[in-house]
Symmetry: C2
Subunit: 574 residues, 2 copies
């Protein structure tokens, strides 16, 4: 047989050279020794630098008893070399893919071609390829048409910041890289394509968080003549199929659904982690009756006392650790953290318990379903702060107490999001999803009467507490679209200027339609059980949006800028 | 049954309304009439504007005898409507997708959502989707890994003009949109991925020709441990599979191969149309012996007399038409066109035949395999001009004389291209493919001795006379790579600056590797038998790189430019 690959490691033993030869499929033990190999060849093999590329020809043989390696697929065999060719030698690399003490990420990104040789990276990218293929097969079977939409598009000052591309031909004008193919996919529905899908590259020039990249991939789809149930039902099938084919896991469908309001009540967030319980409980009604100033005052002000029952945790958290959690919730705007231990005798104990009647304590315990050994924690604040603080606290406790196993996969839908959010400072409404989202049919009249109460035909897919995708049914008539623009403070002239072609399209026979976009990078990360998005992207950017390998972005010639009718301004020289 | 779709046309007949209802799958005849429909519904149906979107429920019935329509899949049936709902009415459109006298392309591009409703456009894009799926399936079966490479990359002043993207975070620096993922895919091979494939978006800011777009899609692949035969053999399989699955056509493999030199001799071009014969014949050896000044002078100057035998065309081209062809070849630098008719008696006749001996005429006829009724045409000029002129002439004659049928599919390989081209003005060498192309092993020494004679491990796929893809085996050792850079006048510092990461990668264990890129837009165009690339792209740009629907490129706010550290200069106000 002939094998080509990289010399991962080698050792001399008993007059032979043993090479761990690595290729995409794994490691194979190659022996260069007598009687197959002559002394000169053994000698040469001994001098090959690690990470060099070699070709060998030889015979497959069983390894000697006691020399097998259970960790490798090929651990029972070895290849006894008859011929060896060095295809390329490797200079001393800054690190080797097999070393256990890896250098920092910056060095690995600079030498990405070495870092990508690591088993974890190879497996991650192969899983990504498989997930993408599974998605494509699924949609092809469901009669979707794969349509490519442009990368060089039009800038719309909505949403995040655009990446701009100056035009040479049209002096002073700019293309923008798409934040999503939203308008194009709606146009495709108006054009009668019925079912569209694309793995689309999207771009946002935002300051990056750990799990964001300036360019990212989105599984983007749109369907005509459907409602929210149809879209969610389809994606249920995709989730089950992907989990099955990629991870060998069964996911029960239909996936559970929960309204936005319910999610906020029970978990304080629209992307709750449902791998574990510990729901938020509202005890404001009892708090209002107590003499305890903090509780009573909160209730009187129309705010909320809500808490978590951390089961069996009374002895797991010391006073100092609880102080630590108190400081943690303060990061989210809370003023403090009230807590009670449920004692063996069933009573609640806490530094503040003396401020509360026994009857009220008993009521609280009952609402919280407290049992001996439980730790009850409360925030007394506005609805928003109790949501944010308890969501963060629950997330932290879930991880600290290992309330779920890392290979658990929980997928569910959050539905009926609010149409609009109010900017607290300016009092302006903004669209919670995007300005093309249709309101629930039963809320149509609220567009005029009570925008805050108006709910959208919107749905988010949540996997393990992360938003893994979101979609909406779109507005398909220009009257409703104009009304929504008006509410959002986008006047007619501005709307025509920015979205004129979409408004136009709605006038010429637009079908009812809706769709969804799934974050592919996020999906791969979640399915692979990783927490760094750069591990599932072959050539990622740093959090400063730089590619350390190619050194992009880079300098360009002045001539190039002149051709683009541009000059840089206000640049400080290094 | 329930049907949703667009009202393509309607007519009143015998108290009923007949609607041609269009969806992605075609047309269905819908009847709104008694007894199923009440008078009010029939009335309503009669008032629906064409291109409105409706939903109907009804029963499928056979059409009356004599009322069937063979042109439609659904031509034998009609749907008798019981319920009809207007989902959206259509304003009077600027044109309808079914009208036979379509308006100009500009109006159609502006109202792309209407233009895309045309049957031809729907079929073209569905074929595109199918071709792409076939490609992806093929490569998945062949164990390729689909890897996405970045769109925000680094500008390299090689090749065509880059589209630039200013960086906000890194003041004064720019990303560039990729002209191809060339360097990334080589890095993937160095990283050990063995077989990579991607449908990659590529960008070139060039002045556009009819079949070019500023952004285009390329099927991009790379393989390790392969030679040119391996790559061509794989693509042979892809071509056969695609032709079979998409067109139902058998393509015999292996596809024929011809060296670049042979193609230039026989067809004057490296992408010859092999759907018909009419090869170029070199008659310089005879020309050198004649007394005819033009022929003799050309031969004496070391130039060439080469011609085409246009079979059976002697009576098909009048003197005036031949004058026309003469003017045509002059566009390609020729000074004139010599021609002879082969008469019934086998002699050659021409206004210039009196200048040539009968013996020489007979020799020419023999070389040209002239038979009575043939028309022989010659150019006497440099090698380059005879190639260009005869290539163009052959192409024109092939089309005019209908020497091939439009549904013929001819695929073949052109191999062993020159490594370098010499700029006639500056005397500088440039890379014919790109500077990472490996020379043929047997020509390695010519890098130093005779670069003009050095042939590359390069191969182009030609379909029906169009380049449908091209690839090379790459240089995998840094010594050869440095030598090639040197020949191309790229000094060490420049090479390090532009391609440092690739040169670096070559030092750390690069395997032998090669690949190919296929132009997907072009493939779809060729397979669909179309000649306008904008018909196989959902949202194309005009030849001025504008999107007439979204009006991209557009204006941006000054604030956006300020954030990007840019100012426009030298813009004339409209």
């Amino acid at each position: 047989m002939t094998l080509c690959g990289w010399v991962e490691s080698k050792r001399d033993h008993g007059g032979a050279v043993f090479i761990d030869l690595r290729d995409r499929y794994g490691l194979t033990q190659v022996v260069v020794g007598p009687p197959e190999a002559e002394a000169s060849l053994i000698d040469e093999a001994g001098r090959i630098p690690t990470e060099s590329v070699i070709l060998i020809k030889g015979k497959v043989a069983d390894r000697l008893e006691g020399k097998t390696n259970d960790k490798l697929d090929t651990g029972d065999i070895e290849v006894r070399t008859e011929h060896l060719e060095i295809l390329n030698t490797c200079a001393t690399p800054p690190f080797t893919p097999s070393q256990s003490d890896l250098p920092g990420e910056d060095l690995r990104l600079k030498y990405r071609f070495l870092d990508l040789r690591r088993k974890e990276m190879q497996q991650g990218l192969m899983m990504r390829s498989k997930i993408i293929k599974t998605m494509r097969d699924f949609f092809a079977e469901h009669d979707f048409i794969d349509v490519e939409t442009p990368i060089l598009g039009r800038s719309t000052p909505e949403g995040a910041r655009d990446y701009l591309v100056p035009s040479r031909v049209h002096a002073g004008k700019f293309y923008a890289l798409p934040q999503s193919p939203q308008l194009y996919k709606q146009i495709l529905m108006v054009a009668g394509f019925d079912r569209y899908v694309q793995l689309a590259k999207c771009f946002r020039d935002e300051d990056l968080r750990a799990d964001r990249q300036p360019e990212f991939t989105q599984l983007d789809l749109e369907m005509s003549f459907v409602d929210a149930d149809d879209v969610m039902g389809l994606i249920d099938g995709l989730v089950a199929r992907t989990a099955k084919e990629v991870l060998g896991k069964e996911v029960k469908t239909p996936l559970p659904r929960m309204t936005y309001d319910e999610a906020m009540c029970r978990y304080g967030h629209d992307a709750p982690d449902l791998r574990f319980d510990m729901e938020i409980v509202n005890v404001t009604s009892v708090a209002a009756k107590t003499e305890f100033r903090v509780f009573r005052g909160t209730a009187d002000a129309g705010n909320f006392v809500r808490g978590l029952n951390v089961k069996d945790a009374a002895t797991k958290y010391s006073r100092r650790q609880i102080d630590d959690l108190t400081n943690y919730v303060k990061e989210f705007g809370a003023k403090g953290l009230a807590w009670f231990r449920v004692e063996e005798d069933g009573t609640l104990w806490s530094p503040i318990s003396k401020n509360l009647d026994e009857a009220h304590l008993a009521e609280i315990k009952e609402l919280m379903k407290g049992e001996p050994g439980d730790l009850l924690m409360f925030l007394a604040d506005t609805w928003e702060v109790t949501c944010k603080g308890l969501y963060a606290l629950r997330k932290r406790l879930g991880a600290e107490l290992k309330l779920y196993s890392p290979d658990q996969l929980d997928c569910s839908w959050i539905t009926e999001f609010p149409m609009f959010e109010k900017d607290e400072e300016t009092g302006n409404w903004s669209a919670m999803h995007h300005p093309f989202t249709a309101p629930l049919a039963r809320d149509l009249n609220k567009l005029d009467e009570d925008p805050a109460a108006c709910r959208a035909q919107a749905y988010d897919l949540v996997i393990n507490g992360s938003e893994a995708g979101g979609g909406t049914i779109r507005i398909h008539d220009s009257t409703t679209q104009s009304k929504v623009f008006e509410l959002l403070g986008i006047d007619e002239a501005t709307a025509e200027d920015r979205f004129g072609f979409l408004l136009n399209a709605l006038r010429y026979g637009a079908p009812p339609h809706g769709g969804i976009a799934l974050g592919v990078d996020r999906w791969v990360m979640l399915l692979a059980g990783l927490d760094n998005i750069r591990e599932v992207i072959a050539f990622p950017k740093t959090q400063k949006a730089a590619d350390l390998m190619t050194e992009a972005p880079g300098d360009v010639d002045t001539d190039q800028l002149t051709e683009l009718h541009l000059r840089t301004v206000g640049i400080k020289k290094d």
